[in-house]
Assembly symmetry: C2
Homo-oligomer: 118 residues x 2
C-alpha cells in the first residue's frame, strides 16, 4: 500500500545500506572534510566512503564543495533535503537505542528454546 513501487524500495535500500545512515548522522552535526568524516565513521574504508558519498550526493541529500588548494580540500554537508531526513532517521535510531536491550534478550530466549546447545 505504501511501497509497492520500486522508487521507495530503492531509497529504503539506500537508507539501509551499510554506511549511509552513519554518514548522514555524522554530517548532521556539521560539515566535514573527507578524512575527518572517515575518522568519525568507525572502520569505513576509503572506497566505501567515496561510494556512499556519491550516492548521497546523487540523491541530493549531500553537497560537496571542493576547494582547489594545494593539497586539495573537500567538504561535505547535508542539503536541506538531507537535513529533513535527519528527523525520521534519528527517531529510528532512538527506537533502536531504546529497544536494543529487549531485542538482545529476545534473541537469547529464541536461541535458547530453539537449540538448547549446538
Amino acid at each position: 500500500m505504501l511501497e509497492d513501487c520500486s522508487i521507495t524500495r530503492q531509497i529504503l535500500d539506500r537508507v539501509g545500506d551499510k554506511w549511509s545512515v552513519l554518514i548522514i548522522v555524522n554530517l548532521g552535526a556539521e560539515a566535514l572534510r573527507f578524512k575527518e568524516l572517515q575518522r568519525r565513521s568507525g572502520g569505513i574504508s576509503q572506497r566505501m566512503l567515496t561510494q556512499t558519498l556519491r550516492h548521497l550526493e546523487r540523491d541530493g541529500l549531500v553537497w560537496r564543495k571542493a576547494t582547489p588548494t594545494v593539497p586539495l580540500t573537500v567538504e561535505y554537508g547535508l542539503t536541506s533535503i538531507g537535513e529533513s531526513l535527519l528527523g525520521p532517521l534519528t527517531s529510528l535510531v532512538d527506537w533502536v537505542n531504546k529497544n536494543n536491550g529487549k531485542i538482545a534478550k529476545a534473541r537469547i530466549d529464541y536461541d535458547h528454546q530453539h537449540d538448547t546447545q549446538e
Copy 2:
C-alpha cells in the same frame, strides 16, 4: 556518537535488509498467514520470506502461531515491540513518499551534469 557499537548496526541492518520493512508494514495492518503475506509482499521468494520472518521472530518483533490443522495453518503478527517500531518506520516511509520526487529529480540532474552521454 549514537551507533559506534555493533548492536545498533546489527539492528539497523535488519531494518535495512531487503524485506523486513515491507513485512513489518504489511503485518502492521493485521495478522496474516504465510501465503497471504507473500502475496502482499510483491515478489518476495518463499525462502526470503521464511528467513526474514525468522529473523524478526528472533528479535521479538513478530510472533508466530502454528495451528496443526490438516493443511497446516500458520499466522504471523506484530508483537508489542514490533508495533512500537511501526511509528519510526512509517515516519521514515512517509518521508520517502514525500521526497521521492525531489530525489528522482536530483538524480536526473546529477546524471545529466556528470556524463551528458555515456
